[in-house]
Amino acid sequence: MAKITLSNLRHSYLPNPSGPADYALKEIDLDWRDGGAYALLGPSGCGKSTLLNIISGLLNPSEGRILFDDKDVTDLPPDQRNIAQVFQFPVIYDTMTVRQNLAFPLQNRGVNQSKIAERVAEIAAMLEVEEMLDTRAAHLSPDNKQKISMGRGLVRDDVNVVMFDEPLTVIDPHLKWKLRSKLKELHQRVKATMIYVTHDQTEALTFADQVVVMQEGEIVQIGTPVELFERPQHTFVGHFIGSPGMNILPATVENGAAMFHGNAVALEGNVTGSGGTTELGIRPEFIKLSDAGIPARVRKVSDVGRHAVVETIVGDIPVKAVVDSASVEQGEEVHLTFEPAQTRLYRDGWIATEVAQ
């Protein structure tokens, strides 16, 4: 197990990058605690897989260093970094049995037989795959194959970090939550540093203590799942996390007060900074339909069963609200009220209000 430090990391797939646009990863500085559960969350092409490959050593960064427990591993190949990785598509040694698959990483490192048997039995029990230990891995279902891939990562007790690269992609939707929870449970039991890469917020927020949200090669926020949901540091985080995401509404600031479509809107705290493009950010969960407030018209109501998503328009700006039950109808005129403590101002994308006292 190890603490992981990324220092001044940058990467470009081009031989001679000239500007920031040429970098797939822009200036990453991170410290990851030993034994923590981390997630890299972002859309396709945000650089999360590049970062993962740099940590595992499958890719050499253009600039910067990677330290495991303060030891520089930047120039070490993957097999000398003592890491484990689970890939998007299950990687299985087809000709081997499940048992042989699990034993493989240990055998390659010359671990003695009794120790191998002990570790394999332990991991098999943890993954609940004991009854299939002697079947050939090629005959397993995708979710079991993926479990075996995970098992190969966890079977070594000397790994610095276990990495997961979108590991649930090929898993049937109704089995996903089982593997999600299995992973969480595994982390709590083995206490290894784990990094989980995904574009799925549920996977990231469920798994990780700390989520790193990335966009276009940059880290936009690092925080606990609660922090990311409640107080996004960037409009992208607000938009990306939550379903539906945060409403990002064009706003102006006059004498320290925010105005949205001619209505004064109370914010969580004082406005900081000046200039730039200003926007309001408020999650649909914190907008209420009431008798007074900002006038709006209902465009669409989607009843999701446990709640309803009401799409309204204020002028020509769409604003979504999540309400307990669908009490309004399409075309109806309503009024919206924003919960002040959950209403924030963003300047050029970044948060520009002080935390409420």
Partner: protein
């Protein structure tokens, strides 16, 4: 309950007709010859299975069959591993890929009799480049027209030169279809290059290798043109493979009956061994 559309059979009809003319009619002609004796003028005498018995008991046939198996065995044991090694060492991406592929394919584009003639001229002692080099420069006594060993080495080398590419190309196709993640996982699992080959590359190449082995077996077992042009079966009978012997009997001696019987036995052996190969190599998958 009607579960399938019977009309579909009409679409297979052209193939059936083609197969009938292509394979069944000629084979039946051979079967017809193999059980009769003829002295020309379309006069036939019923012989039953006499010809088959004669062929199966003939030392000449045993010797040719033995040479044939030896040849095929040597071909397979050289070409398959060599093909895999070459495929493994080829680049997987970049500028050199098409260059390698085209270079590899070149020998296969040359007509078979041309290959025979080329190697004949190339290896003739004194006038051939190789022949001259071996005898006069290295001082090794090499003459495929006189020494059986030289003749054998020459036909083997020629076949390896001509057909290893096929194994290379098929293996290569198998190799490039392996996703990167497998190699990355193997690196992380600390697998040695041998283990990567044994547990990732070989299993993933299995299907194409099965095809390669089958093709190479059938081709080499039925080989005729190249050794015929190169050595004519000599010196003596030392490189008279089954096919060459068959032609000698059929056209040299005009013994159509025995030749037909021999063809059928030959065909049966090819079929049997191909089937054995196939069953052995695919038996794991059936599970």
């Amino acid at each position: 309950m009607k579960t399938e559309n019977q009309k579909a059979w009409f679409f297979v009809l052209p193939v059936l007709i083609l197969v009938a003319f292509n394979a069944l009619v000629p084979i039946m002609t051979v079967v017809n010859y193999s059980v009769q004796e003829t002295f020309g003028n379309n006069v036939f005498f019923w012989q039953g299975l006499d010809w088959f018995e004669q062929i199966l008991r003939s030392d000449r046939f045993h010797a040719a069959l033995g040479r044939q198996f030896l040849f095929t065995f040597l071909i397979l044991i050289i070409e398959i591993p060599l093909g895999i090694i070459v495929a493994l060492s080829m680049p997987r991406k970049g500028f050199w890929v098409p260059v390698c592929l085209v270079t590899m394919a070149l020998p296969m584009l040359i007509p078979w009799n041309v290959v025979g003639s080329m190697w004949n001229i190339f290896t003739l002692p004194n006038i051939g480049l190789l022949g001259y080099f071996m005898n006069d420069v290295l001082g090794i006594n090499y003459d495929m027209t006189q020494q059986p060993l030289s003749a054998w080495i020459t036909i083997i080398v020629m076949d390896v030169w001509h057909w290893t590419s096929l194994v290379v190309l098929l293996s290569y196709a198998g190799l490039v279809s392996i996703p990167d993640a497998y190699y990355q996982a193997a690196k992380i699992d600390g697998a040695s290059p041998w283990k990567v080959f044994r547990y990732i590359q070989l299993p993933k190449m299995k299907t194409v290798l099965t095809i390669a082995i089958l093709l190479r077996f059938m081709d080499s077992f039925n080989i005729y043109t190249e050794p015929f042009v190169l050595t004519g079966g000599g010196p003596g009978n030392s490189t008279t493979l089954l096919s060459i012997d068959l032609v000698k009997i059929a056209l040299g001696q005009f013994d159509l009956g025995p030749a037909a019987a021999m063809s059928l036995i030959y065909f049966a052996i090819t079929l049997l061994v191909s089937w054995l190969f196939y069953t052995l190599m695919t038996k794991d998958d059936a599970k």
